[in-house]
């Protein structure tokens, strides 16, 4: 404790920045391209054969085609191309780590280190589509089939939309008050400005045939056995409800220590960010995108010193080099090879954190015994989330898990008949919106073929 110099009152307050600076910090990370910039950028696309970008996209958007449609003055056609492969193409244009997906393999990235800005072009087309107020898809003839979708995150929304389009009736059950999942509660505010998540949900629901039930949590308000009985199929897009704990000897429950995920959710739901308190000195524990998002937003709220402490090296960070760069250029201090040891507190309130230096020996993380103390008013934990199986087991036949998450096959079928799953809650979940969208789409197509096959059998 002697390392702590000023264990005075914790400094956690709101309104640290004038309105203008606050607005600047939370403005669009990638502002939309101007119309002429769009044409110049679209022209850079070579319309590659069997394009690497398209192969790298988890939802297989026909990128060369949509860019050519933009080039030819048909951005609405481009949007249809995008949305037919990925109904959340608008959000993906904003939050996809394109630098590790489509843009990483763009032949211009390979050739000149400057890929076609696919994400921004996608945003241009989808924004224009949404501005028209029209929904580009029509529903097939009603099938009379009813499907329950549990969870209104990207996987659930994608699944619901595709099923509705195929003529099925869908009911979405969502525990939270708003739809969107992490798009609404988890994505950093500066990546989806102007209430984009809700606008996109509204756009998506215009397909029709989707009934919404919010405030309905699985295992509490609704039960899997009932859903399986009452619906022709069930899709689980439950996400990860749990957060990992540091497992420290002391300090983890002090005031000022929070889960980054919950703090970001609060932030996203705060209408006036000048009312959201933040510490003067903030330490974020973790190395993923949640860590960088929390740190950058703490800085944007006016925190003076923000440090990300990660127990491994920079190369092992899950946050992409680009995300690291965003954090660094916005004044976040990134520190590596530091593992939390204990959180200091006075009068029940956080005053700092002690971390122990690590190093990698033969591929294993080893503690060195040397410690470092960082003063802090707030400590955010961002060391991963976990699947909470509430509602999926204990109701008759339990659903099979794999590595703590739901086990599915290639078609996203679970071990339970008539139950599909996708998104972060499945074993293959990648914590990426675009992957969740693809899961929902694949599951919907498989549900559709299962139901139509059943119909054929019944008819014969």
């Amino acid at each position: 404790m002697n390392a702590m110099t000023d264990p005075a009152r914790p400094d956690i307050q709101s309104g640290r920045l004038p309105a203008e600076a606050l607005a600047r910090g939370f403005s669009d990370l990638h502002p939309a391209l101007e119309p002429h910039e769009v044409l110049v950028e679209a022209d850079r696309c070579y319309f590659c054969y069997d394009a690497p970008c398209m192969q790298a996209c988890p939802t297989s958007i026909d990128i060369p085609l949509f860019i050519r449609e933009i080039q030819a003055g048909n951005p609405i056609g481009a949007a249809k191309t995008i949305l037919s492969a990925n109904i959340l193409g608008g959000m993906c244009a904003r939050v996809c780590p394109t630098e590790t997906l489509c843009e990483e393999v763009c032949v211009r990235e390979v050739a000149e280190g400057k890929p076609v800005q696919i994400g921004l072009l996608q945003r241009h087309a989808t924004d224009l589509m949404m501005e028209t107020g029209h929904h580009p898809f029509e529903r097939a003839a009603p099938t009379g089939r009813r499907i329950a979708v549990v969870g209104a995150g990207p996987a659930g929304l994608s699944c619901a939309h595709r099923l509705a389009m195929l003529g099925h009736e869908v009911t979405i059950f969502e525990a939270r008050p708003k739809l969107g999942g992490l798009n609404e509660y988890g994505i950093a505010a500066y990546k989806a400005t102007e209430d984009f998540a809700q606008r996109e949900v509204e756009f998506l629901l215009k397909i029709g045939g989707i009934t919404i039930e919010t405030g309905k949590a699985l295992g509490r308000d609704i039960h899997l056995a009932d859903l399986r009985r009452d619906y022709d199929a069930v899709f689980l897009g439950l996400g990860l409800a749990g957060v990992n704990a540091l497992g420290l000897a002391e300090g983890e429950d002090q005031i000022g220590t929070r889960d980054a995920v919950a703090w970001i959710a609060d932030l996203r739901q705060t209408a006036d960010l000048s009312e959201l308190p933040v510490g003067r000195r903030v330490v974020v524990i973790g190395g993923g995108m949640t860590a960088t998002d929390a740190a950058v937003q703490a800085k944007a709220l006016g925190a003076e010193d923000v440090t990300i402490a990660y127990r491994r090296g920079r190369e092992q960070m899950n946050a992409s080099p680009y995300e690291q760069e965003v954090a660094a250029t916005r004044g976040v201090h990134l520190r590596f090879n530091l593992q939390p040891k204990r959180i200091f507190a006075e009068h029940g309130h956080v005053t700092g954190i002690e971390l122990e230096r690590t190093r990698i020996e033969a591929g294993k993380l080893v503690l060195t015994g040397e410690t470092v103390t960082i003063e802090a008013d707030q400590v955010f934990k961002a060391i991963g989330q976990s699947f909470v199986a509430d509602g999926t087991d204990g109701e008759g036949a339990g659903i099979a898990l794999e590595r703590g998450r739901i086990q599915v096959d290639a078609a996203r079928r679970t071990s339970l008949d008539g139950v599909w799953a996708g998104g972060d809650c499945i074993a293959e979940g990648e914590d990426l919106t675009v992957v969740a969208v693809e899961d929902g789409k694949i599951a919907a197509m498989d549900i559709h073929s299962a139901l139509t096959a059943a119909e054929r059998v019944a008819a014969e």
Binding site: V40, D43, C48, P52, V107, R108, V110, A111
Partner: protein, 447 residues
């Protein structure tokens, strides 16, 4: 430093870059500014009879663009000068007095009768101008009144008017040709027969630049209607080069001085026209797009290139490419090439593959040993060059001449030159192989 001076029909100018007869040369103010920037000469915008014509009061230009809105071609429905004849003559005389070292040519267009030509030629002579250019080229507006391209499309009229002009004036006569004709050699021959000293080409190409899909009318649109115009700029250069070459290598017109016009934008374009035999070049669209300063790039570029190549004067390379323009039937069928892809430069876009696979000869792989890789299959490659043209990387794909056996035909490649004239598949094959006619020699431009 290379010497860029030219003497075209005895008219000297400090460099081969003249401004073509067009809006940039309509007034003393503009021409003065052009000479200040270094242009070697101008062809004053076409004079006509008084009262002056009128122009439309709506848009008179249309355009097509490439990436980043780079202007590829301009199209106009402007007519000849709309200023009084006296005003123009007065200004021409003053500019020539002030800039004696620059070429001053006056473009003319009057009805197809002897008297009006005689009358206007006398007036032009008094200005001290160095020569006249007969505008037989404009494809819009004036052609509806029997002038411009309406004359240029009838070789007999060309010959007739050229003869009047030579008869009634001592000034050198240049005939400006319209490209809106099937065979450019006929009007060129007519100009020569009429006694014209030179031809200049090409004038603009009849065109509709685009259709406005909101009001279903051509652009530029005047009160809901549009009329075809004359197209110029970078997009017309290949057509112009071909027409210049046709005249340069035609036995009847070979050696006739040519002033090259058509999409000249940089020094390189100018050098290409001169290499085909042009004694100088005329520029319009580049100046109308970027202003008169572009001539500075043209001068330095041409001069530096000539230094690099060891050409001391324009005459040193003028016409060098003309003998290499030949007829298809004389091309060497034993010249066999294969595409070569430089794998270090290849960015794997696959455009060569899909172009060849879908539209040509299935001679480029997309996958080798399970990996994305583009390689030429010599046994299929006909050496067509399409892959070179669609590849976005310069010099990544090149054509290489091969010897020995052609893997495509399995037959040995004869070393000697052979052509279509006696090919067994040619129903008209001659007993003996015919060779291209001996190349025509380029006489001095000043002749």
């Amino acid at each position: 430093m290379a010497d860029l001076t030219t003497s075209f029909l005895g008219i000297s100018s400090p460099n081969p870059f003249w401004l073509a007869s067009a809006p940039p040369t309509d007034k003393e103010y503009n021409v003065q500014r052009a000479f200040e920037q270094g242009w070697g000469g101008v062809v004053w915008k076409t004079l006509g009879e008084d009262p002056p014509i009128v122009n439309v009061n709506g848009p008179r230009y249309g355009a097509i663009w490439g990436p980043d809105r780079r202007l590829l071609a301009l199209n106009n429905i402007e007519l000849i000068t709309d200023r009084a004849l006296d005003t123009n003559l007065e200004e021409i005389a003053r500019v020539k007095r002030n800039w004696p070292d620059r070429a001053m040519i006056v473009s003319l267009m009057v009805p197809c009768e002897e008297a009006p030509w005689q009358k206007i030629l006398a007036l032009v002579e008094q200005t001290g101008a160095d020569g006249v250019e007969l505008n037989f080229g404009c494809p819009h507006g004036m052609s509806e009144r029997g002038m411009g391209s309406a004359v240029g499309q009838v070789p007999d009229y060309i010959e007739m008017v050229a003869r009047w002009c030579k008869q009634h004036s001592k000034l050198p006569v240049i005939v400006k040709l319209t490209p809106n004709i099937t065979d450019i050699r006929y009007p060129a021959r007519a100009a020569k027969k009429g006694g014209a000293d030179a031809v200049s080409l090409i004038n603009t190409v009849s065109s509709i630049m685009s259709i406005d899909l909101d009001n279903f009318a051509p652009t530029p649109t005047i009160d809901g209607k549009g009329s075809h115009g004359g197209m110029c700029g970078p997009a017309v250069k290949p057509m112009a080069l071909n027409m210049v070459a046709e005249i340069a290598r035609d036995r009847e017109t070979a050696g006739m001085p040519i002033s090259g016009i058509g999409g000249i934008t940089t020094w390189r374009d100018a050098a290409e026209f001169i290499a085909l035999g042009c004694g100088n070049v005329q520029v319009c669209t580049a100046a109308m797009t970027y202003g008169f300063k572009v001539v500075k790039e043209m001068i330095s570029g041409l001069s530096d290139w000539m230094d690099e190549k060891g050409f001391a004067t324009i005459e040193d390379f003028r016409g060098r490419a003309a003998p290499n323009v030949t007829d298809w039937q004389y091309l060497n069928l034993n010249y066999v090439t294969k595409a070569r892809i430089d794998q270090d430069k290849c960015i794997s876009c696959g455009r060569c593959h899909i172009a060849c696979e879908d539209t040509s000869h299935q001679a480029i792989t997309s996958m080798v040993d399970g990996r994305r890789r583009f390689e030429v299959i010599d046994a299929e490659c006909v050496g067509c060059n399409l892959c070179v043209n669609v590849c976005p990387v310069e010099d990544c794909i090149t054509m290489e001449q091969i010897a020995g056996t052609d893997p495509r035909t399995g037959k040995p490649i004869p070393e000697e030159y052979d052509n279509w004239t006696r090919h067994p598949n040619n129903p008209m094959a001659a007993e003996k192989k015919q060779h291209a006619p001996a190349p025509v020699t380029m006489p001095d431009a000043a002749e």
